[in-house]
């Protein structure tokens, strides 16, 4: 047990030193990278390793008779989580989410330190010591809190009330509910039931299972499936339409959406927000093809009221592309990103 805990402690110390080094620039911040595609699990795993490490440290300190006070364990662990979220995860997490995480981790620390009576007594003892002020040190501390706390609250109130010149926060609905049907080039499409006319098998029939087999691999590198190269001269049917969609994409869309479809095109950073990143699992992977059809055809100007503040400059492509071209470009987007359009069973 002791050996296991010692390993844990070692990991904990190393992890902490590395994090501190990365914060202060002593160690390059990309020493342990967050790897695209694995980042979500990587973050949770790193936190698990830190917890194991701190447990090991605490165990060793206890064994050596220099137990770290429970109060400071709780406070510092909470501070550690905030530091990790602020400095480890890049790009920076917006304040609203950090506030949510901060609150949850605060509650978690409370649950931990008060899970049983003995721990709870240990945790609150330093607080009671200050309140009781039986020693000179505690008395001084109590006096200091008496002065500092109103100042802190006052300062916080002042900063809250102070008029801000920052732009206000926005709660933008990224994917507003689409209409039941949309009219493009004189034809009405029911969004719930319409299908991409080019998602067909070799017999020319709509076949999503067939097209699903031919999309690129979604993992790292996004490799093409074997014998599924749309730019092969012999490519027919679905793959040929993908190629045609790709040509339309590179003639019209890639300037903003990027040649890797990740929303980082040539003009992308002239806009805020930058154009949609199709490789993100939260965009086209979540939507039906008909939703994309509606958004492409009607553009930012066609967003419903729910899309306030209509922060999209996408042109209404129905004014520039034919219906067939829109369907084909959508076909290409799904093929290239390796995502499947959403379907209802």
């Amino acid at each position: 047990m002791k050996a296991l805990m010692s390993v844990g402690a070692l990991i904990g110390v190393l992890g902490l030193l590395m994090l501190i080094g990365m914060i202060f620039g002593v160690i390059p911040s990309n020493t342990v990278r967050l790897v695209e595609g694995y980042m979500p699990m990587q973050v949770l795993s790193e936190l698990a390793v830190f917890v194991a490490g701190f447990t090991g440290l605490s165990y060793l300190a206890n064994s050596m008779g220099v137990a770290f006070p429970r109060f400071w364990q709780g406070v510092l662990f909470w501070a550690f989580i905030q530091t990790y979220l602020k400095f480890r995860i890049y790009p920076p997490i917006p304040f609203s989410v950090r506030a949510m995480y901060g609150t949850v981790s605060f509650v978690a620390v409370f649950m931990w330190v008060s899970a049983n009576e003995e721990d709870w007594k240990k945790f609150r003892q330093p607080i009671l010591n200050v309140l009781d002020a039986n020693t000179g040190f505690h008395k001084a501390l109590r006096t200091m809190y008496l002065i500092l706390l109103p100042l802190l609250i006052g300062g916080f109130s002042f900063l809250t009330m102070k008029p801000s010149v920052d732009e206000p926060i926005e709660l933008r609905t990224v994917h507003p509910a689409p209409p039941a049907s949309t009219k493009v080039h004189g034809k009405t499409y029911t969004l719930q039931t319409s299908q991409n006319p080019y998602r067909v098998n070799l017999e020319g029939k709509f076949d999503q299972a067939y097209s699903n087999k031919l999309i690129v691999e979604q993992g790292m590198g996004r490799l093409m499936a074997p014998n599924a190269n749309p730019w092969d001269d012999k490519a027919e049917g679905y793959l040929k339409y993908v190629r045609e969609g790709g040509e339309i994409f590179f003639q019209n869309c890639h300037f903003c959406h990027g040649d890797n479809l990740n929303g980082r095109g040539l003009h992308a950073f002239a806009f805020n927000p930058i154009p949609a990143n199709f490789t993100d699992p939260g965009t086209i992977a979540q939507l039906q093809e008909t939703f994309i059809f509606w958004r492409v055809a009607k553009g930012g100007i066609g967003l419903p009221n729910e899309g306030f503040p209509w922060a999209s400059v996408m042109p209404p492509w129905e004014q520039h592309l034919t219906t067939d071209e829109i369907w084909k470009v959508i076909l290409f987007e799904y093929w290239h990103t390796g995502y499947y359009p959403r379907t209802w069973d």
């Binding site: 790009p91 931990w112 709870w120 926005e170 959403r342 069973d345």
Partner: protein, 639 residues
């Protein structure tokens, strides 16, 4: 005729009367149903003495029917259609509706608890335990009795609010649901009669055959209550997903179509489970309140036990609730994709993040309570040092579960983030991760329950070591399976991903049923390390129960608001437009404040109900008994 026989006869007659009351509305309804609800045959036009029948097509069932009612009124923003005070009528209606629903849910849920607990009392061989269960059931029904009259009063207020502020809409709705509303009223009479006989007959029918008659009455009472709720659900189901009318909203003569709309069944199931979880929460809060204000150890022991039973019952219904909600949402998407996206990905998506937060709080509170409850068992100390790992698992699941897909941020933060989706946290914002998150939370709750169940016991079966290792492995692989499926969900089509929730849920439920069963077998005849010292639990645990109940209440208000506001600017979706000045969706902040106000009012009023319950209580002599190892010290039976 002996007095016992006479009592028996009277009891059977009372039960017969209840069943008669239950059947009465159905008998009354038969002529109405036979004549197509008795609605005026608006589609029958007389031209020169010949009756011409006008037919319409059902908007949902797509069947043809004879037009039997007027079209949905096209209202205007006027005093005629929307009479008003100098205040938002919608908010007044919201308040009246929500309060009625809170009390209605409570008085429908509590009799179900009573039925279960009374049954446990009847079948328990241990007489002392049987008496305690019986007393507990009686305590429960007593609380609901005062709340029952308040429910009726609030129902009256709700109807008056409808009639005075939304007359055109209410006239239309009551025109269509006229027979249903009459049956509803009669059911309410039946419910009242049954409830009073059930309550006041408690002492007269407490033993032998009479007890079974009494128990049967609780079954009848709950059947009536459930039908009542189903009927009320048909109105909201119709408003969300109308059926039985044509495109103009004209009733087509088939009352079953109007009742049995696309969302009626999932709403029914979701509400039954929700009511039960809510009822458990409220009773647990009552017990916590009485525990905290108790003056004696006996009282504390009784209310500690009561709180535990109520919490356990509430949580038993909380666990399947997310799955019932999942079915409801699936049916919403099937009915109108647009409605589904408005709820889950569009305008109301942030309210779902708040809902996820509340669900997380429910599970966190439950776990916290169970860990505190380990403190009243001698011998449970061995589990306490591992609690921090459960906290970690719960927190990770919770953080993933509440991460929003659409993040609230300033334009500067948006720019710094380099796009609308965060490359790390954005992955937590989608369904695949959230399914993983909630299943980790529920599985951890199951683990906490297992620890609690074996807290003061040591298994004596010969295969206990193997059993423990097996259980450990089972939980480990359950977590692994849930997490791996959550990750795998990113790499497969959406419809397959939706299907992945089935093995995830199956894993969680396997943990629940299989581990509980295995644990029970292992703990049969187990060595007791010490007694459960009822009443010797921290005050924090009771605040956790109050938190649990408050979170239930808040979440119920929130989900009711979401369900109602998804109709956007329609009184009846796509049939009758809301042309009042308030046909817009409130801001998230306003809605949250309004829900909080409703919750606050409910808790203040129910505190009054609790106080009334305590006021009428008679102090029974309390016998302080020595605690039996492994069993609760007998709590006070005073009420």
């Amino acid at each position: 005729m002996g007095s016992v026989t006479r009592t028996k006869l009277m009891s059977i007659m009372a039960l017969g009367a209840m069943i008669g009351l239950l059947l009465l509305p159905i008998l009354v309804a038969i002529p109405a149903l036979a004549s197509d609800g008795g609605a005026p045959a608006a589609g029958v036009k007389k031209e020169g003495g010949d009756a011409k029948v006008e037919k319409g097509k059902d908007v949902y069932y797509k069947t043809e029917g004879i037009v039997s009612g007027p079209p949905a009124p096209k209202t205007t923003d006027s005093e005629k259609d929307y009479p008003r005070y100098n205040f938002e009528s919608r908010v007044l209606l919201w308040f009246a509706n929500q309060q009625h629903l809170y009390y209605g849910s409570f008085v429908l849920a509590v009799p179900i608890f009573c039925m279960v607990i009374e049954f446990m009392g009847v079948v328990t061989k241990d007489k002392a335990m049987a008496k305690r269960y019986d007393q507990l059931a009686y305590d429960f029904i007593k609380i609901s009795l005062t709340a029952y009259s308040l429910t009726a009063i609030l129902g009256g207020i709700l109807i008056f609010t409808f009639l005075t502020l939304y007359p055109a809409f209410f006239q239309y709705l009551s025109g269509i649901f006229r027979p249903v509303m009459h049956i509803y009223a009669l059911m309410f009479v039946a419910e009242s009669g049954t409830l009073y006989i059930y309550y006041y007959g408690w002492d007269k029918m407490k033993e032998g055959f009479l007890k079974w008659i009494h128990l049967s009455m609780s079954v009848v009472l709950n059947v009536i209550g459930t039908i009542l709720m189903f009927l009320a659900n048909s109105w909201i189901g119709f408003m969300m997903s109308p059926a039985g009318v044509d495109e103009q909203g004209r009733y087509l003569g088939n009352i079953w179509h109007v009742i049995h709309t696309a969302l009626w069944n999932p709403l029914n199931l979701h509400r039954i489970l929700g009511n039960m979880a809510f009822g458990g929460g409220v009773v647990a809060a009552y017990a916590a309140y009485r525990f905290l204000s108790a003056k004696t150890d006996e009282e504390r022991a009784h209310y500690d036990w009561m709180g535990y039973i109520a919490m356990a019952l509430g949580v038993a219904f909380l666990i399947p609730l997310p799955f019932a909600g999942y079915w409801l949402m699936r049916e919403v998407y099937a009915y109108r994709q647009q409605m589904g996206i408005t709820l889950m990905g569009g305008l109301l998506a942030w309210l779902f993040i708040i809902q996820a937060t509340m669900i997380g709080i429910l599970f966190l509170s439950t776990n916290y309570y169970l860990w505190q409850a380990l403190g009243r068992m001698r011998g449970a100390e061995k589990y306490q040092r591992y609690i921090k790992y459960l906290v970690f698992l719960l927190t990770c699941g919770y953080l993933v579960f509440i991460t929003p897909h659409t993040i609230v941020m300033t334009p500067a933060e948006l720019k710094a983030m380099g796009g609308q989706q965060h490359p790390v946290l954005g992955n937590y914002g989608v369904m695949s991760a959230k399914n993983g998150g909630i299943n980790v939370i529920i599985t951890t709750t199951v683990l906490s329950f297992v620890w609690y169940m074996r807290g003061n016991k040591v298994s004596t079966v010969s295969w206990s070591k193997f059993g423990n290792i097996f259980m450990g492995c089972f939980f480990f692989f359950a977590y692994l399976n849930i997490i791996m499926l959550a990750v795998y969900g990113y790499y497969i089509p959406a419809n397959v991903r939706v299907g992945l929730s089935v093995p995830q849920v199956a894993t969680t439920l396997s943990c629940l049923f299989f581990m509980f069963a295995l644990n029970s077998v292992m703990m049969k005849g187990a060595k007791q390390m010490g007694p459960i010292e009822w009443g010797k639990i921290s005050a924090r645990s009771q605040y956790a129960l109050i938190m649990l109940a408050t979170a239930f209440t808040w979440m119920m208000g929130l989900m009711g608001y979401i369900r109602s506001s998804v109709r956007l600017f329609w009184h009846v979706n796509e049939i009758m437009r809301d042309n009042s000045p308030w046909a817009y969706t409130h801001t998230v902040g306003f809605a949250a404040n309004m829900i909080s106000a409703n919750v606050l009012f409910f808790w203040i009023s129910i505190m009054f109900v609790f106080w009334l319950g305590a006021l009428g209580a008679k102090k029974a002599p309390v016998e302080a008994k020595a605690a039996v190892p492994g069993r609760a010290a007998a709590p006070a039976v005073g009420h």
